[in-house]
């Protein structure tokens, strides 16, 4: 486990309270390796397969291609009134088990400035496509199990989540564990290049007698160009997808509604690189007094096509 923690620390050489002088050299080497790897991935002339949506919080109905593994890194910087600003981050491993089932593991952590950097937990999510073909609206069922503590990634906002919940110092916040089951109904439709997606969230914290909590996320996006150009290119309009998403809480079973909830509006843009990678950027703005004023999210992902077959061959199976 230490190595995982170490790598998370290494991802943020500027973070405070985590990198002792003894390990700084190794961190430097790791960072250099990461930079070299990123550079190699960006410039190696492989055909791009990624056609990723720009959303960071909202899900559309498209699943990972069967046998492909997508490795993603995301980061959220958030301002905090009544506490220290924070930088939360997570790594996702998304695998297309079949054309109708995608499974995904998350590992996340956070740095609270002037406090510490901690590993905050893991999630395991599964998405199941419910219908065989495309319809007017396409439903996907999302089921997630998570164990987190002092989590600040704000991957979804639900119930009465408000900014003040994130103001506690890490030492105090990590004494509480969330042990949750989360269900989402993802509805999405693509029409004339526009994708419109809506997610309804229901969460049950299995610790204590917490009630069901609810939330939502909606998004719309469109590629900057609908036709592909005849030549390979990095900066063509077809490689950029822009949009906007909005998400927030809807209270809980006993107090459903917008009272004491937080909401965000975030423009999003994705750049599908010619090397199977995708960059995403999303500045988010709190829409009421309960919300963080500002969230800056960005992410990078890389897809490994044929990963399942390669591993299968490695283990001596038939590809």
């Amino acid at each position: 486990m230490k190595s995982i923690k170490f790598q998370i620390v290494a991802a943020f050489p500027g973070s405070r309270g985590c990198a002792s002088g003894a390990v700084r050299g190794r961190i430097g080497r790791l960072v250099s390796c990461r930079a070299l790897l990123a550079l190699a991935l960006a410039v190696v002339p492989l055909p791009a397969r990624a056609q990723e949506s720009p959303y960071i919080v909202t899900y559309d109905h498209y699943l990972e291609e069967p046998g492909s593994l997508e490795v993603e890194y995301f980061s959220t910087f958030g301002t905090q009134r009544g506490g220290n600003d924070f930088h939360a981050f997570w790594v996702e491993f998304e695998y297309g088990a079949t054309a109708w089932w995608t499974t995904e593991a998350y590992f996340d952590g956070q740095t609270t400035f002037n406090d510490s950097t901690i590993f905050t937990g893991f999630r395991w999510e599964n998405r199941f496509r419910l219908l065989q073909r495309e319809h007017f609206v396409n439903p996907v069922l999302y089921i997630e199990y998570e164990q987190t503590s002092a989590d600040k990634i704000l991957k979804e906002v639900e119930g009465h989540d408000v900014e003040a919940d994130y103001a506690e110092p890490n030492a105090l916040a990590r004494q509480d564990y969330d042990h949750e089951l989360e269900f989402k109904l993802l509805l999405s439709k693509t029409f004339k290049g526009w994708n419109v997606a809506e997610n309804t969230i229901a969460t049950k914290n299995l610790t204590g007698g917490n009630p069901w909590e609810f939330g939502y996320a909606i998004g719309a996006s469109r590629p900057l160009a609908l036709k592909a150009s005849a030549k390979r290119c990095s900066f063509c309009g077809e490689n950029f997808i822009a949009g906007v998403e909005m998400y927030g809480g809807l209270g809980d079973r006993y107090s459903f509604g917008l009272h004491d909830t937080s909401h965000y509006l975030a423009p999003v843009i994705a750049w599908n690189l010619p090397s199977d990678g995708t960059l995403r950027l999303s500045p988010g703005f709190g829409l009421n007094d309960n919300s963080h004023r500002f969230l800056l999210r960005w992410g990078v992902s890389h897809e490994f096509s044929g990963f399942g077959a390669a591993i299968s061959r490695l283990l001596g199976g038939r590809p």
């Binding site: 069967p66 695998y95 590993f119 893991f122 073909r133 495309e134 042990h179 077959a309 590809p319």
Partner: protein
């Protein structure tokens, strides 16, 4: 001699209380690792099974093309709006190399996972049929839906596929189809 398991490691109704279960990052024991390995194995086997169902030997199993016949009449009758576009085939070739060649083969000759697109069933199909199939995929055989590609790009792919013939290997914009 049968090994004895300490009481603390046995799963009994009394000591398994999920609500008190906490993830301890300092303890990744053999049981966790075994569970992860088992799950990975299950996923890979499932992937392999999917690949097998989606890849019967094409010469022996023409049922892979049966899906083409399921296209609704309205979809079949749609005309390719990019039929006269001189760049459509080249752009379609680029898209084919990006999204399709991995399963259908660099030359669209078919592979273990997906059938040949040079087959008469595909080449004789109406453009509208191919567009419909691209849009809807064949989920149970492992082909994803491609409606995430905008309509013009799907039509560009159709143009490219229709430009192929069994005698001539696919050509597009130079290097594009050279990549898997």
């Amino acid at each position: 001699m049968r090994p004895t398991i300490p009481t603390s490691m046995r799963f009994t109704k009394r000591n398994v209380n999920l609500s008190n279960f906490r993830f301890d990052p300092n303890c990744i024991c053999k049981r966790h690792l075994s569970a992860v390995v088992l799950f990975m194995n299950m996923l890979l086997n499932l992937g392999r099974a999917t690949a097998q169902t989606s890849s019967p030997p094409i010469s022996r199993d023409n049922s892979v093309y049966a899906e083409l016949a399921k296209a609704p009449r309205k979809a079949v009758s749609r005309r390719n709006p990019l039929e006269m576009d001189p760049d459509a085939v080249a752009a379609g070739g680029k898209l084919f190399a990006m999204h399709c060649a991995e399963c259908h083969g660099e030359m669209a000759q078919g592979g273990k996972k997906a059938p040949s697109l040079l087959a008469p069933e595909v080449q004789q199909a109406a453009p509208g049929t191919l567009f419909w199939l691209l849009t809807n995929g064949v989920i149970r055989r492992g082909m994803p839906v491609w409606s995430k590609l905008p309509e013009p790009q799907r039509w560009q792919l159709v143009s490219f596929i229709k430009s192929l013939s069994p005698a001539t290997p696919p050509k597009s914009d130079g290097e594009n189809t050279a990549h898997p």
